[in-house]
Symmetry: C2
Subunit: 495 residues, 2 copies
């Protein structure tokens, strides 16, 4: 009875996903609520859930059922295929390797915090070398099981079906664009009047109200969501109970506000996933690049548009008072669309951000391929920064020590940021073409035309399509950096 | 290798306890944080955790290991004995009975909410009859497995080792005391001047600060705890991350403040459990009556004492301002130690509260024994209230519909409240004898002498001893209602 096998698999994957929901809530709690003394026990709780999930996924009956199960129709067929893939990834790695990696990542991450504080790369280099060694082993084991290139096998864990061969030409095209666009954008910016300062400070309580109101306004239903505070903003929880966080700075309203709009983009994606396939692989978000496209289409494409800045200025002035000129859209753009060559990825503007990602993509790929040694990382980093942005970090804290990712064993993730940014521009162009009233609505703070288009073409698709097919179905083309470059030209070069 | 078996069991029970911690956090979140739309998914998450815990506990290897495991020393021996008991309770019930009960409880609880709102017992009677039928079946199955009386087997699930034979004489003695003490207390109270009103309203933010400060002052370490809000106050979380909640009423500062002191008593117990046996049965709290003794020794014995009320008055005046006379300990006592015959258990004073419990104990025992039909419950209830407190509820909402417990399938729990109140008095007497400076410290808001005694004699014992042995070791006697009656005499009759 093949269908009985598929039904058993659906029940089992739903159970695994339900444990994942529990873990997601406990992660949120750890970041937003937990007193410091709860940390050790929380680690045990999350480890127990992860261990049980792994046992459920790798039990012998799963392989047997996957062998004989059949499914009908595109959703169920894709669901079964995704189960096969999930199972293959979970069973590809020997337990000792998984455990050795977890230990090495955890040890390296701790040392990294000290090394970063002291700008002392040598201090973390041995631990990072061990992380890289185990990541290479992991990549090779996954590659063998999935018949893929090793680096692609790592990237596949974050964004299914996207390979280095997809990424390379896209990044090369962007690099060429950057060389010409960045100096021009800087020159145009320099010729403009300086920005009027925004009146501050911005009391936290008023910021909190504003952030909750704005996120609700653009579509987040607080019957199924919460907004809280954490050191590093994120979007967590589950599709029916999504938890976003932010961090308030009394001196700078933009940090929390634009951050909340960004996380709201993630949250709206989760909220829009197909409920009929909740807790099934096909009902999940389509990957990290797809997820980033949804936060960036909201934050960068929609909320930093001239149209929405007009609306936002009125909201800010109503919340905090002060001179109308400071809140004029042109002045807000001068603050929030400012281009600047900087060392730090998370502070980068839209134009230079991809340079940070391209650098990391090339370096991490070389480390996994074995053509770059950890000891040579700082030099390679600084050389890349000089080549791409014409600046050299004064120390490694502003260079190769700035991000947690590698030091925590995350290799293959970085490309998602820029793939997401590019996909956001491509989707926005298609949405604008399909919804002619989109910008007029944004000027009123109304995201409904954009959101209803995204619900149909992205959110509601879950994981039915891979990243490239999702873009193809929604925009007629696979990922194409042209729309992103056009967007940057229009916003930064043609004005 | 018997010791290998015991080690395996310890690992497994630790895993089960860790899942229980996760569930406890999710329960807290559901009450204190979760948006309403998260309810359905949360139910699934908790059900998945409960199901996995049950599977871990009832796997065939557990019975095999329990058969051959040996342990050395009192802690490990008791731990093994508690594993046997936990396993026996879990395996005594057929899965169909557990599931039928869960469904019946859930269905009845929903109908009860409507029936209570409309004072319509007939509406819930059929559903409650089904709950009782399944509870009787459950009691009989447990009784057979544990060689116990059926009602005792239910009570044993809440407070290990306490039987109806322990409870009956204690409750009978109290009933006799009540008949004489209640009218006297009322007469003494009537002869006193009326209480000066407390100046209100009490802004919620100031109440929140006060509650956090007071609970910290009496020993709760907020590096391992949180205080939040929920509709029904409770203490949840885990020993290293305990979560207490309260509910603020702007008109009445006592509700939240005394409630937080009560929950702090529960929290201090959890915080003081033996860390060396964390996540093992012997490291858990000794049962619900023991737990209630710890909340009541803090709230009723310590915090409503003349000594502590003196300290509290100063704190309240500092927080809310107003006339010093209103905050004098005698006036606070007139508010917070007021005796009144009422219909509602949760609003009852120290003297009449046991009457509510004794009534419920007799009625629920009769329902489990089959000598009281659900249809006859309202009549039996009203008759009991009339006999014990001389009042008859005007309707069933103020009578047998007031509590959720039975309608949610909790039979055998009610005695814990009064056993806890009595144990609290007995422990307080022993603590006072051992720590002569206890009351002088309370007058300064200093709970350290009491707390350090409780840490040694109650908290640190975990489940090493059953309820009666715990009291015997701490006070020289098993539960004896005399100390509680002496306490009430001193507080309400001798003044």
């Amino acid at each position: 009875m093949p269908n009985a096998a598929y039904r058993r698999l659906k029940t089992r994957f739903a159970r695994i996903a339900t444990l994942g929901e529990a873990a997601s809530m406990l992660h949120w709690d750890a970041s937003a609520m937990m007193p410091p003394g709860g940390g050790a026990a929380r680690g045990e709780q999350l480890a127990a859930l992860a261990g049980l999930s792994h046992e459920l996924l790798t039990a012998p009956i799963v392989a047997e059922d996957l062998e004989i199960a059949t499914a009908e129709g595109p959703w169920e067929e894709t669901n079964l295929a995704l189960m096969v893939r999930t199972h293959a990834r979970a069973t590809a790695l020997p337990t000792e390797l998984v455990e050795a990696s977890a230990r090495a990542n955890s040890a390296c991450e701790k040392i990294w915090r000290e090394a970063k504080a002291q700008a002392d790369f040598a201090r973390v280099a041995p631990a990072l070398a061990e992380v890289v060694r185990l990541q290479r082993e992991t990549a090779q084991a996954l590659a063998a099981a999935l018949s893929m290139d090793p680096y692609d096998a790592l990237m596949d864990g974050y964004q299914r079906g996207v390979t280095a061969a997809d990424v390379e030409p896209v990044f090369a095209a962007y690099e060429a664009f950057l060389a010409e666009a960045l100096p021009r954008a800087e020159a145009i910016q320099a010729a403009r009047p300086v920005a009027l300062p925004l009146p501050g400070p911005f009391p936290v309580a008023a910021q909190r109200d504003l952030c909750a109101r704005l996120s609700a306004r653009i579509g987040l239903d607080y019957g199924h969501a919460r907004l809280d505070e954490s050191l590093h903003p994120f979007c967590g929880g589950t599709p029916t109970d999504v938890r976003i966080t932010t961090f308030y700075d009394e001196q700078d309203v933009a940090k929390a506000m634009l951050g909340v709009l960004h996380e709201t983009g993630h949250a709206l994606y989760e909220r829009g996933l197909p409920a009929a396939f909740a807790r099934q692989p096909v009902g999940e978000a389509a990957g990290m690049a797809a997820h980033e496209s949804q936060s960036l289409i909201v934050e960068m494409q929609a909320c930093r548009s001239d149209a929405f800045l007009g609306f936002l200025g009125g909201e800010l002035r109503a919340a905090f008072g002060g001179d109308a000129a400071a809140y004029a859209p042109g002045n807000l753009a001068r603050h929030w669309r400012r281009v600047e060559r900087g060392f730090i990825r998370v502070d980068a503007d839209e134009i230079t951000y991809p340079a940070h990602v391209i650098l990391r993509f090339r370096l991490e790929r070389a480390m996994i391929q074995g053509t770059l040694e950890v000891a040579d990382l700082p030099g390679a980093w600084n050389e890349g920064m000089q080549r791409m942005l014409g600046i050299t970090p004064p120390d490694d804290t502003k260079g190769c020590l700035q991000d947690i990712h590698w030091h925590d064993g995350a290799f293959g993730y970085f490309p998602s940021y820029t793939l997401g940014a590019m996909a956001a521009a491509q989707l926005m162009k298609a949405a604008r073409a399909a919804e002619p009233g989109l910008d007029a609505a944004l000027a009123q703070g109304d995201m409904a035309p954009l959101l209803s288009w995204l619900r149909v073409h992205v959110h509601g698709k879950g994981s039915l399509l891979g990243f490239q097919d999702l873009l193809r179905a929604a925009t007629g083309r696979p990922l194409d950096p042209q729309d992103f470059m056009d967007h940057l030209r229009a916003r930064y070069l043609d004005a």
